[in-house]
């Protein structure tokens, strides 16, 4: 079968099957100066897929702010890196695994976790926390239970086994995800700032080494699948889904980190989407060198694999490295100790080409620079989103009973407890989880220090749909607030930009405008983007998802003993509202849950206020004046207060006044707001200090007893809320097998 692939006719059908347009194929011909071989066509196809080339999004991504004095490495590498002092760095990224998770939820989600872990430890970091952002269709949809159950099990199955705690995340349900769920996984790792590894290859003659699992036929063309819209027969694509092996991943983490303590590695890159192709091209391209690989030396799991299959395989748990000359033995011993494959498969050349040989024949010889530099980039046409009409609180019916409305909201799929999910994740392994799931942000201690990393993933897709600019701002601002509410200083974000088909101008418009809002927020909050990922074509039969730019924020607190949670510590604490509000009900959960309406504009995100109010709140926390703090987001003030009660098992007695209609005061979703629970001794002073700084602040009432009391409006037992809040998801999932 000597290089029989070289003799395959490159027909129009074959080109189309590889997702290349006529123009793109012409560009291939121009670069190659001849007809490509099948292997070469496969390589162009994956490298120029949306997933690898970001061809629809690149132009706009360039506009995001990516710099700050504490940023060590921004977008473009495997993950972003920030300085957290004392010679330490935090390395993190979030990535989507949407399409594979819809087709096979367990493996799709599991390999999503595996992939993002590799992005982080590739750079020399020990992963210390996993997070996720999940979106499913409406609970009533027949597939939702199965998908939720499989995804959660997959995330747990992988993360638990590798021993990295999954410390939090968010989960939404909405019909727009019925045919396209979103599974976005984030990993945060810790490294020494002077021992970070990058992917740029260097040194002609240096060995190129393959380590990890063997290569099989898994997921061939996964990267192009991830860039294609779903049709009803996509479910037949099941065989291309990769299978994860967290056991091997754990060994790979330990082996790589062990080798990284030696002076042996020039460059290292994980084999993610498009496996051996993208890793070798990336390394060669960044280092301006050529690669010559002998594919016969690639460790193979199946017989008779062709060069095409090896280059496109997405088998998991594999890495590519360039070693310093003479270090092969030392490296091999480490990988053998961990029972992993180790093979020298080629070397660096000065040709600038990616040259592949198999059975003595050259099966591909592609100049790397044009393969990457001349990758298509589109300025796709876009139209701004129509602003949605604003809704006045007076035009929304007040609830017949405030308590009933609150109970209905807290027991709804949107606000019900996610405990059923996070109890399936080992969120404590590694012994540094000092803020467990369920609060504003998760917190992991930097091992052996007093420092802590606060992590939060957020996005409010209904705002992004109503107003992409405000929605983009809000997604960034909410992570910033959540981190601030723990006392940590937000430092940088990663993102997963999940949108529909960018070839439709209105979808492209959502993308462009969400990015605009995000960029504005990043600048105003000094909170740059250091890594991220784009997932487009989240559409089924022409219906796109709500625009969902999921944001993962990371912050730092120098002294974890000052950290706050959302749980007040005692009865009789004073509840202080920081921030003003007009009772914004457009695109709110109240409207959705109580009135079954999804219309109205998104709340305005005033970034100056966000910054100003948030900095004030953090100052109070670090000044040890605050016992608990919660930002106000989904569901508004009364929901936030109720969440604080649920966390502490202490009720409250508050007065919402009569400036606004009661439902607007209770459930309006105005931004830049926090609730502080403080001892009586500090309350007056905090309100005065806030007002001196022109920050609206008022005393709502106090923590007390086991009932939730709003003066003149509501008096319900906390236990009643707790039961509804806690039981929705377990009861919903109990029907899993009877659906």
């Amino acid at each position: 079968m000597t290089a029989f692939e070289n003799n395959i006719d490159i027909t129009e059908d074959l080109i189309a099957e590889h997702g290349l347009s006529a123009d793109e194929y012409q560009r291939v011909l121009d670069i190659m100066g001849r007809t490509p071989t099948l292997t070469e066509l496969g390589i162009f196809s994956v490298m120029w897929s949306e997933h690898c080339s970001y061809k629809s999004s690149r132009l706009h991504l360039k506009k995001l702010p990516t710099e700050a004095p504490w940023v060590i490495c921004g977008p473009g590498e495997n993950a972003g890196i920030i300085d957290i002092g004392d010679g330490q760095a935090a390395i993190f990224k979030m990535e989507s695994h949407n399409h594979p998770s819809y087709i096979e939820p367990y493996q799709g989600a599991a390999t999503g976790v595996g992939g993002i872990l590799r992005d982080v430890f590739t750079m020399g970091a020990r992963p210390v926390a996993n997070m996720n952002a999940l979106r499913f269709g409406e609970p009533e949809h027949p597939k939702t239970r199965h998908l939720l159950s499989g995804v959660v099990e997959g995330i747990g199955g992988y993360g638990n086994c590798v021993g990295v705690p999954t410390v939090g995340g968010e989960t939404n349900f909405h019909p727009s995800y019925n045919g396209n769920i979103l599974v976005n996984a984030m990993t945060v790792g810790l490294a020494d700032a002077d021992n970070i590894f990058y992917c740029a290859a260097a040194g002609v003659g240096n060995p190129v080494v393959y380590v990890g699992s063997k290569t099989g036929r898994d997921g061939i063309h996964g990267a192009t699948m991830a860039s294609a819209e779903f049709t009803e027969d996509s479910e037949e694509k099941r065989p291309t889904v990769q299978v994860g092996d967290p056991f091997t991943e754990k060994l790979l983490i330990e082996a790589c980190l062990e080798l990284m303590q030696k002076d042996a590695i020039v460059a290292i890159q994980d084999m993610g989407a498009a496996g051996l192709t993208s890793s070798s091209v990336e390394m060669a391209s960044k280092g301006d060198v050529g690669f010559e690989l002998n594919l016969n030396n690639v460790p193979q799991r199946e017989e008779h694999m062709t060069p095409y299959e090896m280059m496109l395989s997405e088998s998991q748990e594999r890495m590519l490295m360039v070693l310093k000359p003479g270090h092969e033995g030392e490296a091999e011993a480490i990988f053998r100790k961990w029972d992993l494959d180790f093979a020298v498969i080629g070397e660096i050349t000065d040709t600038g080409n990616l040259t592949l040989t198999f059975d003595g024949d050259v099966v591909a010889d592609i100049p790397v620079a044009p393969l990457t530099d001349l990758a298509p980039e589109y300025d796709r046409p876009w139209v701004p989103s129509e602003p949605k009409a604003d809704i006045k609180a007076e035009d929304v019916a007040a609830p017949a009973d405030l308590g009933d409305a609150l109970l209905k909201m807290m027991g709804s799929p949107h606000l019900a407890s996610r405990k059923w999910i996070w109890e399936q994740y080992d969120h404590m392994v590694m012994g540094d989880t000092i803020q467990r799931p369920g609060g504003d942000a998760a917190m992991v201690r930097v091992h052996g220090t007093e420092k802590g990393l606060a992590i939060s993933t957020d996005c409010t897709p209904r705002y992004c749909y109503a107003d992409p600019v405000q929605g983009g701002r809000q997604a960034v601002a909410e992570t910033w607030r959540n981190i601030t509410a723990t006392g940590a200083t937000p430092l940088a974000i990663t993102n997963c930009l999940n949108f529909g088909n960018p070839e439709r101008p209105e979808i492209m418009g959502q993308f462009v405008e969400c990015l605009k809002g995000m960029g504005e927020a990043c600048i105003a909050l000094d909170y740059p983007v250091v890594s991220g990922n784009v997932s487009l074509y989240n559409e089924t039969n022409g219906t796109g998802i709500h625009p969902t730019p999921a944001i993962g924020g990371v912050g730092l607190i120098a002294d974890t003993s000052k950290m706050t949670t959302i749980a007040p510590k005692a009865e009789g604490e004073v509840l202080v509202l920081i921030g003003g509000g007009q009772g914004h009900l457009g695109a709110s959960l109240y409207l959705d849950i109580i009135e079954s309406r999804e219309d109205g504009g998104a709340p305005e995100v005033d970034l100056d206020k966000e910054r100003h109010y948030g900095d004030f709140v953090r100052e109070q926390i670090l000044g040890s004046k605050v016992s608990a703090c919660h930002d106000i987001s989904d569901g508004g003030l009364l929901v936030a207060l109720t969440e604080m009660s649920l966390a502490s098992s202490i009720g409250f007695d508050i007065d919402l006044g009569d400036n606004l209609p009661i439902h607007a005061a209770a459930f309006g979703e105005d931004q830049a707001r926090y609730i502080l629970s403080v001892t009586a001794a500090h309350a007056e002073q905090i309100v005065k200090d806030a007002q001196d700084e022109n920050i609206p602040a008022s005393i709502l009432g106090k923590t007390q007893g086991t009932d939730l009391i709003v003066k003149g409006q509501m008096n319900i037992p906390l236990q009643q809320v707790l039961d509804l809040h806690r039981n929705w998801m377990p009861e919903y999932m109990r029907a899993e097998h009877s659906a």
């Binding site: 099990e153 747990g156 199955g157 638990n160 086994c161 590798v162 021993g163 092996d245 967290p246 056991f247 091997t248 754990k250 060994l251 961990w338 029972d339 996070w422 109890e423 399936q424 994740y425 080992d426 969120h427 404590m428 392994v429 590694m430 012994g431 540094d432 989880t433 000092i434 467990r436 201690r445 974890t560 003993s561």
Partner: protein, 229 residues
């Protein structure tokens, strides 16, 4: 107190165990790779939690057949101390140092949460610092913690006071609702007959400081330190 923590491929609570031992006993344990055939001179061998060999085949099955286990079985049979937590408990049952087996949780899910335990036997080197019948909160994090043994074995365990800790409710009752994984007799941890080997599914090493949510796990390590120093 001299101790060793055994590291299998994909052990993942080895560091947590080492941190707890060092923090509480003041002496760092030696980390011993599974391919070693001899143990260092130690009083206590700790088998940590994790997913040794990916939990493939059966939890703990392959780790139980690794090189170092022969030395550990000898160590245990000589009356020296062995402490297995979570995957370590599974390994101990697979080697036969402890009776029974740990099966898939009743609800088939991985469960990570704090549970209430009752200290049933406080007359061992592992549990002396607790009161008899004391209720403590310790996290579990496992997929296969459903303790099974035949009726004779269970009777022996009960008669010999080998049940160290049991899952109970806030009133100390071993109810079905308080049993997170379906274990027979709500068993969370057992001693061997001589009392020198303890295996338990809950993770005491995870609750040894207030910052992590409590200190109820310290007692196991303090007991060992007081007994063995």
């Amino acid at each position: 107190m001299k101790s060793a923590v055994i590291v299998f491929p994909a052990s993942n609570c080895d560091r947590d165990m080492a941190v707890a031992l060092e923090k509480i006993t003041g002496q760092a344990p030696q980390m011993v790779w599974h391919q070693e055939s001899e143990l260092p001179d130690v009083d206590l061998v700790a088998l940590p939690g994790g997913f040794s060999y990916g939990d493939y085949l059966r939890c703990g099955a392959m780790a139980a057949r690794s090189h170092i286990m022969k030395a550990i079985v000898d160590h245990g049979n000589q009356g020296k101390y062995v402490f297995g937590v979570c995957n370590g408990f599974q390994v101990l049952t697979e080697t036969g140092l402890l009776p029974g087996a740990l099966m898939r949780n009743r609800n088939l899910k991985f469960i990570c949460k704090d549970v209430t335990l009752k200290v049933e036997n406080n007359d061992s080197v592992f549990t002396r610092q607790y009161q008899h019948g004391q209720l403590i909160n310790i996290p579990i994090a496992h997929h296969d913690g459903n303790y099974f043994a035949d009726a004779d074995t269970l009777k022996r365990l009960e008669d010999n006071n080998q049940i160290a800790v049991r899952y109970v409710d806030h009133n100390g009752e071993a109810t079905k609702a308080a049993n997170p994984n379906g274990s027979q007799h709500n068993i969370a941890g057992i001693l061997n007959k001589k009392g020198n080997v303890l295996g338990m599914m809950p993770h005491p090493e995870r609750l040894i400081e207030d910052a992590l949510g409590g200190t109820d796990g310290r007692g196991f390590f303090e007991s060992l330190m007081h007994s063995l120093n």
